[in-house]
Amino acid sequence: MNSLLNAALVLVLALNLFALGTSRILTVIRTVTFQGILLGILPLLVHGHPSLPAVYASAAAILLKGFAIPFMLTRAMRDVHIKREVEPLIGFLPSMILGAVATGFALIFAGELPLADEHMTPLLVPAALSTMFIGFILLTTRAKAILQAMGYLVLENGIFIFGMMLVEAMPLIVELGILLDLFVGIFVICIIVNHVNQAFSSLDTRHLAALKE
């Protein structure tokens, strides 16, 4: 079971780097979608015999991150008729290197953490940390509003990986609440993205600079 889990987590990490290195917005959306589906399946791998609530939570996560959110995002993309390129503030190669360094750093750092014995071996904690780092990199180095939303999703995915160690503390209703908030959050972001496009004729958040001291 552990080897399967580790393999899935390595795939999650590879998807992180791919999301940093690709130049088309749609590919980024698809990468994060795939990551979301993978993370939806993971809780079932962590617990050999999943309970019924765990299955519900997984199903809800897959439905939302795998279908509903990408559907909204691609529609928002289509509605605003923007250029399909990512246009990063720092180049693709530097951001990939940054991501790789962050992943390595997360691996070393997780080794130093005072973890409970049962979490010493699997990649869960380093994967969570590095996914969060990469979410931050996407958030801060991409100019387009939609990609910042993707960064937020990746950040949330990282936190989700960490939460997998704590299923007992998170009742189904809370997990569903968090997912619902994520969904509504992306929904509101899509609406604002649309308004941003109407008001500025672009999704480049560098135009959002009128408000300052």
């Binding site: 005072p114 936190i159 160690m165 972001i189 408000l211």
Partner: protein, 478 residues
Amino acid sequence: MTLLLLLFPACMALVALAIPSNRLRPWVLPVTTAVHLALTLLALLRPAGNIATSWIALDPLGKLVLLLISVLYFITSFYLVGYLHYRHERSNRIVCACLLSGLSAMTLLTWAHHLGIMWVAIETTALSTAPLIYFNHTPRSIEAAWKYLLIGSVGIALALLGSFFLAYASLRSGLPPTLLLGELLREAPQLSKPWLHAAFVLMLVGYGTKMGLAPMHTWKPDAYGEAPGAIGALLAGGVTSCAFLCILRIYHICLAAGDGPYVAPMLLFMGLLSMAIAGIFMVGQQDYKRMLAYSSVEHMGILILGLGLGGAAALFGTLLHMINNGLTKGVLFLSAGNIHRSYNSAQTSVVHGALRRLPLSGGLFLTGFLAITGSPPFAPFISEFSIFNAAIDSGHWIASGLFLLFLLVIFIGMGATVLRIVQGSAPESTPQTPYRDSLFTTFSPIVFLGLALLLGLAIPSPLNHMLMDAVHYLEVQP
């Protein structure tokens, strides 16, 4: 009844969506908030349920915030009727629905005794208030809403990670992982220290972003500057108090774990930094709504400073200050909204002579400024003075000196801007707008000012009891 209190505003949000008439729809707000206030008072009178094990319970801290939010919404709702009537050309469907769903989320937050539910509630609050900020649909307001949503969401995501760390702290010490507040408080002394400390830092930063503590306050001047005045009042008095309640929760757990001395320096630093940053940006501020936002940063700093001082006297002052800040911000934002509409500008270069053009709103704005900067006999004076007293008593000489210095700088900086607005006469070039002070748009700030004055003269004994209970609840380990 709990369920009714939680769900009633959400149901009324659906009703607001269904009402076709733009003119009638705002009236849903006073009706809903009146019922909400009545239910809140009933809930406050009822003996508390089992707050040690349940997920949803009203403890003394929750009671204070719930009362503040309910009163704030009730009084502001009348202003909103007047405001939305004045702006009848724009559909208020979304605004009414978002206001009411936000009220539901905030109510849930005050009752939440599970840190996961608390997180869901504050994120819902953030999401339902984001559309309110760009009610005007100007490019500037969209920019403000985008920043509010993005910075707020990232901050709250960090707070979620902090909550997970807290659950991991119990797992690490061999206990079943839990996010129930009652259990965490009971087990607090056994929690794994490194994870508890990391959780505290993440939650302070995360919920502090929502509260608007420096240096995570950057969204605040933008959001408060661009949102309509009434929305600013609800954000600065309501949402920030909710975020403060979240910080109180983790603070409470740290106190119960015996980590008071560990968290105190961080809280003192964050509090003083927020006051300092607010002071710097308030001097020479050209936009009076942004000035109010920095005033909010300042008062959030005072609240965190009060927590950092610790002890019964400081906590009493801090909790009282949370209420005083909410009420006084109501006066300021609502009267500033009136002035903004009359001059169609928030720039101090354009707006002069508000006392002549709008004697009532101008007067309220001036009095509100005196109240918020801690002039007697208004309530913020009492609470700021008790925090200052507690700082002296506990031997925090440097902190109390800086506290006074920053209050003085802010008084001068804010005073210069406010006097420029209210004094003199309106320049000829300023266009006349159809706005005149009306019953609806002045009634609410007058009531807020009355309450701030009342609390300054004498704290009613039921409220005093509630404050004492809350301090006792924070200090005594279960």
